[in-house]
């Protein structure tokens, strides 16, 4: 028998039998063994090639919770690792199958029901956030998850992310999800929460699954509150230094200003490249751009003006509420072009790190990032740093662009260097990582921040739900 070799020991089944058995569960059309299918479900956003040893043996697309349950029961019985895949847009790589086996895509479970009477939506994990945003937007609702439009709802909820939004306004999925349907690795299907808008004050098992990065179960249905669509107005401020942006955004909180839905920052160097790229004539310096909101346009405009007044009082060289659509598009385009900043300057590509400083140290953290490539002996010294971030929600990024010609080996060392520097900065400034799923590579940070006792508790929880460790095997162990 052609047994499948996993890093955790042999799976007790041959590949042909595995494919045949899975086809019996979901049908022939939803099991894929072709090389290019397996590559597509394994090639993550890491800036080097996927290796053959990390390709799944097979990709499967169940259509409902019952099929998921059968697959997981089967995988548990045969000790086959199962990696859950929503959209593959995770900025790190929880979807990279560390131990081959089955990659289970949730893409077919993409239903959406909008229940205005109860004021919630119910959706499958595979539906894209962009699609939900569009559909509920038609009815005047706002999705408090603003991740990349191609990301999946299941992924966002599993990671408990909201993209660029400020936590203090809408909260995170853990606050906004009313209930979940989850299939446990042993095949049981459970429901959490209720249909009431009032969430449980005490135990709510749903919270265990939200943010546990798909390691405890597979979410097959999400029930989430509907939020009325706010009106928004953009405003922008330009500052002589990057540090000033950190300072002014800190003050925005401390002075109890109406918080914007989105508060973005583009560092001086990045702003210059972006403006050159678009032929824009903005003042030189760092840019802070916000999306103020309100129940009415007037209220949003008033709120935007308050932030503009703060910008001006804190030394902005120019600040204004954006009234012209074209200006708004150009301002946001400078921010959106993050991945091109390096390219425009002859670099091949780049990789971002995330730092989440405590509020009073925001400006200081920005200054640290500004000098990140200086006095180093690792590969980061060979990169060029471009600063940006969702400063309104306390997330700073530094986009480190690397030159053409680096081999995959060198790129792997570079990624290690990046993680090390991110860990140092997070430990220094008090953050833990708020934008994307992170456990595989941030395990060292987790252990240093919370200690081994905390890590052991997580491992015990994992073992309780998934005794054979079939789900996303390797992620909790910090394999990358």
């Amino acid at each position: 028998m052609n047994c499948l070799q996993g890093r955790y020991g042999k799976m007790n089944i041959g590949l042909d039998q595995l494919v045949c058995d899975l086809e019996n569960i979901v049908g022939k059309n939803y099991v894929y063994g072709d090389l290019f299918e397996r590559i597509n479900y394994a090639d993550t956003l890491l800036p080097y090639d996927v290796e053959e040893e990390f390709l799944p043996d097979v990709v499967i697309q169940p259509g409902n919770a019952q099929e998921v349950a059968k697959i997981l029961m089967y995988a548990t019985e045969h000790n086959i690792p199962v990696t859950t895949y929503g959209s593959g847009t995770d900025l790190i790589f929880p979807t990279k199958p560390k131990h081959q086996g089955i990659t289970m895509s949730t893409e077919r479970m993409n239903f959406l029901n909008i229940d205005e009477e109860h004021q919630y939506l119910e959706c499958g994990p595979g539906i894209k956030t962009g699609k939900v945003i569009r559909e509920i937007g038609k009815l005047g609702y706002f999705l408090p998850i603003q991740t990349q439009a191609g990301s999946s709802m299941g992924g966002a909820v599993s990671i408990n992310t909201i993209g660029h939004l400020a936590d203090n306004i809408f909260g995170r999925p853990v606050h906004n999800v009313l209930g979940l349907e989850v299939v446990l690795p042993t095949g049981e299907v459970i429901e959490t929460g209720s249909k009431c808008l009032r969430r449980s004050a005490g135990w709510d098992l749903g919270r265990v699954f939200i943010g546990s990065e798909g390691m405890l179960g597979v979410i097959t249905k999400i029930r989430m509150i509907l939020v009325p669509m706010p009106e928004t107005v953009d405003a922008v401020g330009f500052f002589k230094t990057n540090e000033e942006v950190g300072h002014v955004m800190t003050l925005m909180y401390q002075k109890k200003l109406p918080l914007p839905m989105d508060g973005e920052f583009v560092g001086k160097k990045a702003c210059k490249v972006g403006c050159e790229n678009y032929g824009l004539n903005f003042p030189e310096g760092a840019m802070a751009v916000i999306k103020a909101m309100g129940r009415t346009k007037e209220e949003a405009t008033r709120n935007a003006q308050e932030v503009v007044d703060l910008f001006k009082s804190e030394g902005a060289t120019e600040a204004f509420v954006i009234k012209d659509q074209e200006v708004a598009e150009n301002v946001w385009a400078v921010r959106e072009n993050v991945m091109r900043w390096g390219k425009e300057k002859g670099k091949k590509g780049g990789r971002a790190i995330e730092v989440n400083p405590i509020l009073p140290r925001m400006a200081e953290a920005i200054t640290s990032l500004e000098h990140i490539t200086e006095a180093r002996t690792d590969l980061i010294a060979e990169t060029e740093a471009y600063l940006y971030g969702h400063v309104g929600s306390g997330s700073l990024h530094c986009y480190l662009t690397y030159p053409h010609g680096w081999s995959d080996e060198k790129m792997k060392r570079f990624i290690d260097d990046i993680w090390n520097v991110e860990k140092e900065l997070q430990l220094k400034y008090g953050g833990i990582g708020g934008d994307w799923g992170w456990f595989p590579y941030r395990l060292p940070l987790y252990r240093e921040t919370y200690g081994d006792t905390s890590y052991e508790i997580i491992k015990k929880i994992k073992n309780l739900f998934d005794p054979n460790n079939i789900l996303n095997r390797g992620n909790l162990e910090g394999e990358v």
């Binding site: 593959g88 991945m339 091109r340």
Partner: protein
């Protein structure tokens, strides 16, 4: 550069360019091919090319993915806006050429006969060349030649010459031109413009067909061409040899606006219809003709025009571009019918009675999708020429 070096060069170029992909997946978000699988879309295709070429895995499944692309180019809009601005469409076409010429893996099974027909008969169906102008029988349209010059050549294109739905476009446009007293003619020996051959990776055949047409244009002293087929329009302005650049080429939506401005064409009848418009990829996104069709539609008296959900630069594809007209995608890839049905659904959402387009391919595909959805009572697909001819 010798042939071997050239081959290596194409391989390296594809690998190097696709190595810059950030793997953000945003191209897939816009790709009409994506149904419920990441592999089906632009991202899946670009990764398949990258790894296929890098690992020398030139399998049939690579071919199927590479040839499944509609070349609609919507992915490039997103990639340019927020990512690495990769020339995805060009890479797909280069990969097709490589698979066809170097690896003999392309084209798709149904396309081989089409390429042969293009070479032998000058049209994809292999219909007799002498039947090309049959649609014009009794319409009294002159054949342009060096001895019979006209102000304008109407380049009909294969689909409007042979396909019954396409022929309607040719007839309507001829009626309109006659109504405006335009001195126009057609070519008796018109040959395929070569666009589809290029899309299938047979560039040499595309060049051969272009040369055949260019020689005819030159011999007949033609300096002004109008066409009803966006694929012809695109290939004339972007792919024909530079020495033919002295030609003025217009899509009919541009030409009809011009003659309306000049007062040569007038609308005399109200057409009280609610309409929407589907931008053909090769007219809109690839050639930048967005406003003229809209201007033409809105000039027709009585018309109520409503934009469809994805329009202009973000228009969705009808599903038949990039050589897909001549192939059936394998079962696990998205069918053209499904793509077209999605587009028709968007048109239905506008409440329009008529879904207008300005391309014979789109016209055929979307008409079929209306039928397969069972919506013939709700909406009708028409070329703009049909609407214009109602108004004159």
């Amino acid at each position: 550069m010798n042939e071997e070096a050239l081959t290596e060069n194409i391989e390296n170029q594809l690998i190097e360019t696709l190595n810059a992909c950030k793997k953000c997946h945003l191209c897939n978000l816009f790709c009409p091919l994506v149904d419920t699988r990441v592999t089906q879309g632009s991202f899946g295709i670009n990764r398949a090319i990258y790894y296929g070429f890098k690992w020398s895995e030139f399998s049939e499944s690579l071919r199927d993915l590479v040839y499944s692309c509609t070349t609609c180019g919507k992915c490039e809009v997103m990639c340019t806006k927020v990512s690495m601005a990769l020339p995805i469409r060009e890479l797909v076409e280069k990969a097709r050429e490589y698979l066809l010429i170097e690896k003999m893996k392309g084209p798709m099974p149904g396309q081989t006969a089409v390429l042969k027909n293009l070479y032998v008969r000058g049209n994809p169906w292999g219909n007799p060349s002498h039947e090309r102008t049959k649609w014009a029988t009794g319409l009294n349209i002159p054949f342009v030649s060096k001895d019979n010059k006209t102000d304008v050549l109407y380049f009909v294109g294969c689909t409007s010459s042979y396909d019954p739905l396409g022929q309607k476009i040719a007839k309507y446009l001829s009626k309109i031109l006659k109504n405006a007293n335009i001195n126009f003619g057609i070519l008796e020996n018109e040959c395929c413009d070569g666009h589809e051959a290029r899309r299938m990776g047979e560039n040499a055949l595309g060049e051969y067909l272009a040369e055949t047409n260019t020689n005819m244009f030159r011999e007949a002293g033609i300096s002004y061409i109008i066409t009803g087929d966006p694929h012809s329009y695109y290939t004339f302005i972007k792919e024909y040899p530079t020495d033919s650049n002295g030609l003025k080429v217009q899509h009919y939506t541009q030409f009809l606006n011009d003659i309306l401005d000049q007062g040569k064409l007038e609308f005399s009848t109200k057409v009280n219809k609610k309409v929407t418009y589907h931008d053909p990829c090769y007219l809109g996104r690839h050639s930048g003709v967005f406003e003229e069709p809209r201007r033409l539609i809105e000039r027709i008296p009585g018309i109520t025009f409503k934009e469809i959900e994805n329009n202009k630069k973000l228009s969705d594809c009808c599903g038949m571009g990039g050589g897909r007209m001549w192939m059936e995608p394998p079962e696990k890839l998205t069918s053209s019918q499904k793509i077209a049905e999605r587009r028709v659904q968007q048109a239905l959402d506008t409440g329009a009675e008529i879904l207008l387009t300005a391309c014979p391919f789109c016209n055929i595909t979307l008409s079929d999708a209306v039928k397969s959805l069972g919506k013939t009572d709700s909406i009708e697909v028409m070329d703009i020429t049909a609407l214009v001819s109602m108004a004159i």
